[in-house]
């Protein structure tokens, strides 16, 4: 696993539909990585509000992920499309205050479902852009 | 005795009238206006002076009209409702008449967002039909808007524009009827390239008997090039150039295209002369005033009547 990323504060918003066992699966990795990682399960990624992302950054997250179901398999049909638009809105806002918008990352999962959230997380952190700490988490 | 509008004289005498257009310069330059006037003199009955056309700041229409008047031409003062409220419009009508201008053309005007003052407020206190009504009431009843008297009233021959090529088509003639009802005495149309549609429009005009209530001058703009034809077709709202005409322009080598444009204009004028209810032509040779004498001469419209 990418060493630098292990020390980062990461917030992961994700659609519960991805992993029926998310409750127990995420505990594994939560234990391993400690308080630096925070999970926020959502009933559908379409429920996400830009405010959630902002509050995550404000509380010191260096990277914020939103993981959505494959585009075609959203239970609420347009949920993940809407999620993409909200990501873009939030990215614009954080860009306006001088925060790197690439710290907010949208992941559309490829089929098939289900996936294990702990494995997904490992994969993500493996391939995460090396951004280091954000100005906010350093302060 | 009041000096009379030459345009009105020609039309009243039942002659086929010819008007042209003069765009004032972007600067305080009387020579530019006088030069254009001299090119046109003797070939046309009256000259329209545009009013900050396309929303671009230019020498005022009123001032340019006076310059043309001094050159012995009969100017048509174009007035748009975009830049002046009813106070200024009525005041300028009195001013124009006082200075000896005898024709006014009432227009909406191109929207300010097209010009070089895009941050300007668009006044649009009156619309063009209300302006027609206003001039008519001032002249015939000696009353300004609200009923107060002006004395002596302005003495002006009242015109308006019509676009047979805009949409919705069935409504264009209703709108003309409204302009006539409001009191317009002559109409200058949008440039005619689509003769079929113009013919159709004219037959609707005759069905309503409007050709007996208003003088209609068909608009002519000689094409300078095939490129210009394409530009007008694609970029200018409310203009209609049929594909065969563009092909015809393209079929001629670039050097000969101006000549072809003039030829098309002449043919159009010939067709208009034959059409019942068309009382003249209005030639808008944009920044190409030299074309006007050629067109007029070759269309057999010379000499101009001295009525």
């Amino acid at each position: 696993m990418n060493k630098e990323n292990l020390e980062l504060n990461v917030a992961i918003f994700f659609c519960q539909q991805l992993d029926p066992d998310q409750d127990s699966n995420r505990r594994v990795i939560e234990k391993e990585l400690g308080p630096g990682i925070k999970f926020f399960p959502l009933p559908c990624s379409g429920r996400i509000e830009p405010l959630h992302f902002l509050h995550a950054f404000e509380s010191g997250a260096d990277l914020v992920y939103l993981i959505t179901c494959p585009v075609k398999s959203c239970r609420y049909q347009q949920g993940n499309v809407r999620a993409g638009k909200r990501i873009a809105f939030a990215q614009n806002l954080i860009r306006e205050i001088g925060l790197d918008p690439e710290r907010l990352i949208l992941i559309n999962i490829d089929p098939p479902l289900p996936k294990r959230i702990d494995l997904l997380t490992r994969e993500l952190l493996e391939g995460a852009p090396v951004k280091g700490h954000s100005l906010l988490s350093r302060l | 005795m009041k000096i009379e509008s030459q345009l009105k004289n020609v039309l009243a005498a039942g002659r086929f009238a010819v008007t042209a257009e003069c765009g004032p310069p972007k600067g305080a330059d009387p020579e530019a206006v006088i030069k254009k006037g001299r090119i046109l003199k003797g070939y046309v009955d009256s000259v329209n002076v545009t009013d900050n056309q396309t929303g671009v700041v230019r020498l005022s229409s009123l001032a340019a009209c006076v310059l043309l008047l001094q050159e012995g031409l009969d100017p048509v003062l174009q007035m748009v409702v975009r830049d002046r409220n009813r106070i200024a419009l009525q005041s300028d009508l009195l001013g124009a008449s006082t200075l000896g201008i005898r024709n006014v053309l009432c227009l909406s005007g191109d929207h300010q967002s097209f010009g070089n003052q895009t941050q300007a407020i668009g006044v649009f206190d009156l619309d063009s039909i209300q302006l027609i009504q206003t001039v008519r009431r001032m002249r015939d009843e000696g009353q300004i808007i609200g009923g107060e008297a002006v004395s002596p009233p302005p003495y002006l021959f009242i015109g308006a524009a019509a676009n047979p090529f805009a949409d919705p088509f069935f409504y264009r003639v209703i709108r003309l009827a409204k302009k006539v009802k409001a009191g317009t005495e002559f109409i200058q149309t949008q440039c005619i390239y689509n003769l079929d549609r113009f013919k159709e429009w004219m037959s609707q005009v005759r069905d309503r008997g409007l050709h007996e209530k208003v003088y209609i001058l068909g608009g002519i703009t000689p094409l300078k090039s095939a490129k210009m034809a394409e530009y007008i077709k694609n970029q200018v709202a409310g203009m209609d150039i049929p594909e065969p005409l563009i092909r015809r322009m393209k079929s001629v080598p670039a050097k000969g295209q101006r000549k072809e444009g003039i030829k098309i204009s002449i043919e159009t004028i010939q067709a208009l002369k034959e059409m019942e209810g068309v009382h003249g032509v209005h030639i808008m040779a944009i920044e190409w005033e030299e074309a006007v004498p050629q067109v007029v001469e070759q269309a057999g419209l010379m000499p101009r009547p001295t009525v």
Binding site: - | D167, I174, G238
Partner: protein, 222 residues
Amino acid sequence: MITAERKPLDEIIAMILPFKKVLVVGCASCVGECAAGGEKEVGLLGSALRMDARMTTKELETREMTLERQCVYEFIDRLTGLIDQYDAVLSLACGAGVQAVAEVFPNIPILPALNTSFLGQTKEAGLWLENCRGCGDCRLHLFADICPVTRCAKQIFNGPCGGSQDGKCEVNPETPCAWHLIVTRLEDRNQLDLLEEVYAPADWSKKEGAGPRKIVREDQQN
């Protein structure tokens, strides 16, 4: 409803620069409906401003709240007792709301976070259209319920102008020509006779007034 949009953030940041304690106040009525000044937007703006302050090492303390309306005294009154603890209020209301709050608390700067835009309708989610200019003399019944004052770029009462083509306005090909809509709807309603009428110049005094306009209703007074 009255529509508005948030000002660019750097403009807002510059506005609050002299103040350390800022009360961020939204309005849940019109600007809430158009997603410019409701509770969510107050949260977003507050969060963004705090983050900006931290990153640029400025001192800033905020509190967020949203009133039901910022243009009516009964609701503004909720700020009483609280507002004195702040150096300034950042208001996410329309211009009327900002001024109403300032009238009640004249000694505290009320800063406008929004640019108030127009009176309009929510056409669909995320799309608002201007359709009334509050001219004080509504004549929609003559124009098939399509406002020529607002929706015609030249506010023509005897339209359309010569630039109307394919149903689009010459001024902006993405906007339908109001007069095209009027003519076709009148045709559908069999009311073409309304088009033959020459409508007289408007009485703009009902719109322009003599300075700001006022409505007095004694029956509504206490």
